[in-house]
């Protein structure tokens, strides 16, 4: 083997000097701009990046991307979205500030497969055709019948079958295991802004390399092709509805290309200095962040309210004592005690609210749940780095 100072590797095909790095927290493999310090993982926000050897640690797929969806959200929008997020989190930890979020913002491209294929298939399905039936509503009043004709749409189901020979272009297939969760958390990307990849796209941003090879992603691609084929067959049969679609398909002329999708990541620390991720769709600015309340902050509020309750209580007690001498004071004392009690009870609310956010914030909606799953399951957040 020849010793070569200007070692050529597969990363050269990406057209730019890039560093291969891996994260032992989220198992992500990245190509990073060479001047970027190998500290914080652009995908999980942990300090767990290590340089990898391009010859030894070969990722599942190394070909450069063909297409890319550029970052299109403006700086102003980014700042607004981050500020909104920080503002709307109850009892936000001190670290969760728009400034921090902005300072830690990192652009990263996520991979997606686009597959072209020829399909030859036989198919069968039940096609539904709408038809209208006439019915009547009648009313009898003052000795007269009045009739109203009503039309109702019903569906007639008929069996159909056939053959299909179609070419499908640019069908999306997941290049990351967590693709479905990402889509739930960030919404879908609109592919009409797509353009060819240029090497200088990676001067600023990191690229997440696929962790699912095409062969693996093909099952999903097949499913989505089946859905498209079903819809096309429905159109072919001029039906209004379709159900029970089944096909036996052979595919050839498969062509896989990699598409890069833009994502911003940032993070903040909670009271216990744990990292919480905030993701922003780089195309439309859809923001999804883990919400974490600061128990410290909530406790401060609770103490504040609690102590005011104590103050009111003490004053009321004094009034009650005075009441021994002047009866007019007694109602005031009673009112004071009631208010003290009410305020005392509200003191629990900040604690409850913070606890609620930390305990149930993940279940707020599907997207929030997906994000929780992404950050907790997919990359084992909170695990201590191995010594």
């Amino acid at each position: 083997m020849m010793l070569n100072t200007t070692k050529t590797t597969w990363t050269d095909t990406w057209g730019q000097p890039l560093t291969l790095a891996g994260c032992w927290q989220c198992d992500g493999v990245f190509l990073l701009p060479p001047q970027r310090p190998l500290t914080i993982c652009p995908y999980c926000g942990q300090e767990s990046l290590d340089a990898l050897d391009t010859a030894v640690d070969r990722p599942v797929y190394t070909q450069p991307p063909e297409l890319l969806l550029p970052f299109t959200i403006t700086d102003v929008n980014i700042q607004e979205n981050l500020a909104q997020f920080a503002k709307k989190t109850w009892f936000a930890p001190a670290d969760l500030s728009p400034q921090n979020l902005l300072a830690r913002l990192q652009p990263i491209y996520l991979p997606l497969w686009l597959v072209d294929a020829n399909a030859q298939a036989t198919w069968q399905a039940e096609m539904g055709y709408n038809y209208q039936v006439v019915s009547h509503k009648e009313a009898f009043q003052s000795g007269q019948w009045r009739t109203q004709e009503v039309r109702e749409t019903r569906i007639r189901w008929e069996p159909r079958l056939g053959r299909l020979n179609r070419h499908y272009d640019n069908q999306m297939a997941p290049a990351l295991e967590e693709q479905r969760l990402l889509e739930l958390a960030l919404g879908t990307y609109q592919l009409n802004g797509i353009r060819p990849y240029r090497p200088d796209d990676l001067i600023q941003a990191a690229a997440h390399l696929p962790n699912r090879p095409p062969a693996d992603a093909w099952t999903e691609a097949r499913e989505s092709l089946k859905k498209i084929a079903a819809e096309e067959c429905r159109q072919a049969a001029a039906a209004d509805h379709i159900r029970e679609f089944r096909w036996t398909a052979d595919f050839d002329a498969q062509n896989w290309t990699q598409l890069l999708l833009p994502l911003y990541t940032t993070f903040y620390h909670d009271d216990e200095s744990r990292v919480h991720m905030v993701f922003m769709n780089g195309q439309n600015g859809n923001l999804r962040g883990q919400r974490r309340a600061s128990m410290q902050k909530a406790r401060r509020w609770a103490i504040l309210i609690g102590s005011s309750a104590v103050v009111i209580f003490v004053i009321s007690l004094l009034l009650a004592l005075l009441g021994h001498f002047r009866e007019a004071m007694l109602p005031w004392a009673g009112a004071g005690l009631t208010i003290a009690l009410l305020v005392g009870v509200t003191a629990v609310l900040p604690l409850l609210a913070a606890w609620y956010v930390n305990r149930f914030g993940h279940f707020y909606d599907d997207g929030q749940q997906a994000l929780a799953e992404l950050t907790n399951v997919a990359w084992k957040a909170g695990e201590q780095p191995p010594v």
Partner: protein
Amino acid sequence: MMTFPPDNYVLTESAVSGIEVYMPRPPKEMQQEVVEFHCPQCDATTAYSAENGGLTCTHCGHYEAPVQEVVGKAAVEFEFTVETIERAAHGWGIERKELSCNRCGVHTTIATDMLTHTCPFCGSNQVVQVKAPQDVLRPRFLVPFKTTEDNCRQITANWLQNSWMLPKDLQKLARTAEFTPIYIPFWTFDAHASAYWRAEVAHTKQKTVWSGGRRTTKTVTEWRWESGNVEQFHDDLLVNGSNQISKVLLRQMRGYDLQELVPYDASYLAGMQAQAYDIGLEEAWELGRDAMRQRTKAACRTQATSQRMRNFSMSLDFSKETWRYILLPLYLATYAYGNERFQVMINGQSGKIAGQRPVDWRKVIGVTAVSMLPAILLGLLSLYLSNNVATADVGVPVGFVAVLALIGALVFIIRAVQTALQMDDA
């Protein structure tokens, strides 16, 4: 892999290139337009026989067993689709239809609403299966003839002698009457009716009132609002589909049992006359719905706690409406008596008879006159007895009996004349 396409599928249109669409082979159109019936043995004309339910040869008596399959009330019902209603409105198209007899080659034209034809020259029976405006609009089911022509003569003979008001020589006619078997078109309708009604219902009440310083009771009517719901299923309501048959007679002779419905087959029509509907689906459904409305309304009114009510109103929603187009068997006969012609109808299934009968009015007048006699005689007797001092006491009760006899006679006369009028102009 299975062979493609399966046998029973045919290629149909596709709106997308690269996709072929196959659909189930549509059921065959009514095979031949005209079906003729000949004996396989002697080539003479065969006809449907009500006696044994098959085809029999008029010449050698050869018998062909029927395609018996009774579906009864389970016979398919159709929905009121907009398409069917529109197609049904188009009617039968051309007025008359050219027909050439396969046997003797003679050309005749028949009206398009005739479903059968007997060649006037060679007597062969033909069933014309004219293309209906939509496949569902051809007769799909029928009740076959069960009553034979001989039965009809017997039934008519009995019917013509079961009343004293009829002329004695009438029953002879029954033996010579010609009965024409004919299938009449009918629509059957099903619908579910859900109704809500509301009315002010009268309740009488005893009330104590003070009037002129005295306590008295008075009956007063109180009107109370009542309401209710009625859910009713109207099953197989029959509506006549032909304008050419006397509706009055048809109503008297009704009572078809739809449990005996069979799928339409041309052989049932061999040698019979048969008409297609000329009262269309929509018009018939209008009539059917009216009958259903009246029935449901009656059901609503019976729910009220008293039958005296005012401001009755109701709403009624129909759902699950379906229809069927069927043929029902009927014998038609006309006979002449004196200078007049009389029409008789016999239900081809049950043998129930309806028709006009010539009333012997002299007989009726004679009998009614005789029925007055006892009253007149008793009256005279009473007068005579009252005039005589010795028997005056008996005169009064006899007079009373005379009045009773008079009332009885009058009742008898009124009823007799009523029956006679009914028989005469049914």
